[in-house]
């Protein structure tokens, strides 16, 4: 599958890596629900590290969509939460 590291780029990851990301993702959800920012940042950093070191970087001109999008760890907990709301941090795309 393809994973995007927000602000960095897209990577192709294999099934094994995907499984590891899913496990980390469970921890990320738990950390966010517990309002535990250091734990969330730690998990996100681990995801970034995994994808960067073991994923295969897609060329910039690849137009594939990503199945998972991993936010950066330098957002505040509040900002990370906002990322997931419809009118949150991600700007609306222009509509005709």
């Amino acid at each position: 599958m393809i994973a995007r590291l927000m602000g960095e780029g897209q990577y192709r990851v294999d099934d094994e890596l995907r499984g590891q990301l899913n496990e980390l993702d469970d921890r990320a959800v738990a950390a966010m629900e517990a309002d535990d920012e250091p734990a969330l940042d730690g998990v996100l950093d681990e995801m970034w590290e995994l994808v960067r070191s073991r994923g295969e970087r897609l060329p910039d001109d690849d137009l594939s969509a990503s199945e998972v999008v991993i936010p950066p760890s330098d957002l505040t907990l509040e900002e990370t939460k906002q990322l997931f709301s419809e009118d949150g941090l991600v700007p609306d795309l222009p509509t005709p």
């Binding site: 994973a3 995007r4 927000m6 602000g7 960095e8 780029g9 990301l21 899913n22 993702d25 469970d26 990320a28 959800v29 966010m32 995801m47 060329p59 910039d60 001109d61 690849d62 137009l63 594939s64 969509a65 990503s66 199945e67 998972v68 999008v69 991993i70 936010p71 990322l83 997931f84 709301s85 419809e86 949150g88 941090l89 991600v90 700007p91 609306d92 795309l93 222009p94 509509t95 005709p96």
Partner: protein
């Protein structure tokens, strides 16, 4: 519930589907989308220029503070030489404050530098994807029936839409950071202009300046007096003294 990173991707896709739902004429949608992409690319370029301007401003402040460090240091030396420990202390206290500000500025410049690099990387990716989208849209327009075109457009638009959302967020974050820095830069400018940075204990920069100046004036007078005495002593300066 979907995990965090899947939800993240769904949020972006749902924003995109709003755009695609409105698409009636595929060719028109493609052209419109391309136009929006070009516009976003301009926004990134502007964002990079704004960050660079803010960075420049902070660098100018750094220069000013470094000059004031040199000045305060020499004032402290002058004060010690004149046996005025109180003035030397005041000058050194101001110097400490200026040094702290200087450290803060270094950190801020570093942060702006990171924002600039992120935006530049985002610009490069967006530009590459826009170019890929442009050639794909011509292919779609030329080769596919309307129904097929819808599907292809969906694919191409999802990929580029995701990049647009990512770049859009990078621009907003850089803008926030730049605004914060500008507010702080204005505050430091005011401090420097008000003399507060160079003068935060004694309440009046000119007081320190004045006292040191008067010490140095006294010394100069002493030195000249000494010289005159020597000349008069040698019997050649009588006229000058009478003047």
């Amino acid at each position: 519930m979907a995990g965090l990173i899947e939800r993240m991707s769904l949020v972006i896709k749902s924003k995109l589907s709003k755009l695609l739902d409105r698409a009636e004429d595929p060719a028109e949608t493609l052209d419109y989308s391309y136009e929006q992409q070009r516009q976003l690319l301009q926004n990134v370029k502007r964002g990079i220029a704004d960050v660079a301007t803010s960075k420049k401003r902070l660098q100018l402040q750094t220069d000013k503070l470094e000059q004031s460090l040199v000045k305060l240091d020499s004032q402290a030396r002058d004060a010690v030489a004149a046996g005025r420990e109180d003035l030397a202390r005041a000058a050194l206290e101001r110097k400490t404050l200026a040094q702290q500000q200087l450290q803060d500025l270094d950190g801020q410049i570093e942060q702006l530098d990171q924002q600039q690099q992120k935006l530049a990387a985002s610009e490069k990716q967006l530009a590459a994807k826009i170019e890929a989208f442009r050639s794909q849209k011509e292919v779609i327009k030329a080769q596919y029936s309307a129904a097929e075109a819808q599907v292809r457009i969906g694919e191409a638009a999802t990929g580029i839409g995701e990049q647009m959302a990512d770049t859009g967020l990078a621009i907003e974050r850089a803008r926030d950071k730049t605004e914060q820095m500008q507010a702080r830069a204005s505050a430091v400018d005011e401090l420097i202009e008000a003399g507060t940075l160079e003068d935060f204990t004694a309440g009046d920069q000119t007081q320190l300046d004045r006292e040191l100046a008067s010490i140095s004036a006294d010394r100069q007078v002493d030195a000249e007096l000494e010289k005159l005495r020597a000349e008069v002593g040698a019997g050649s300066g009588k006229k000058e003294i009478e003047q």
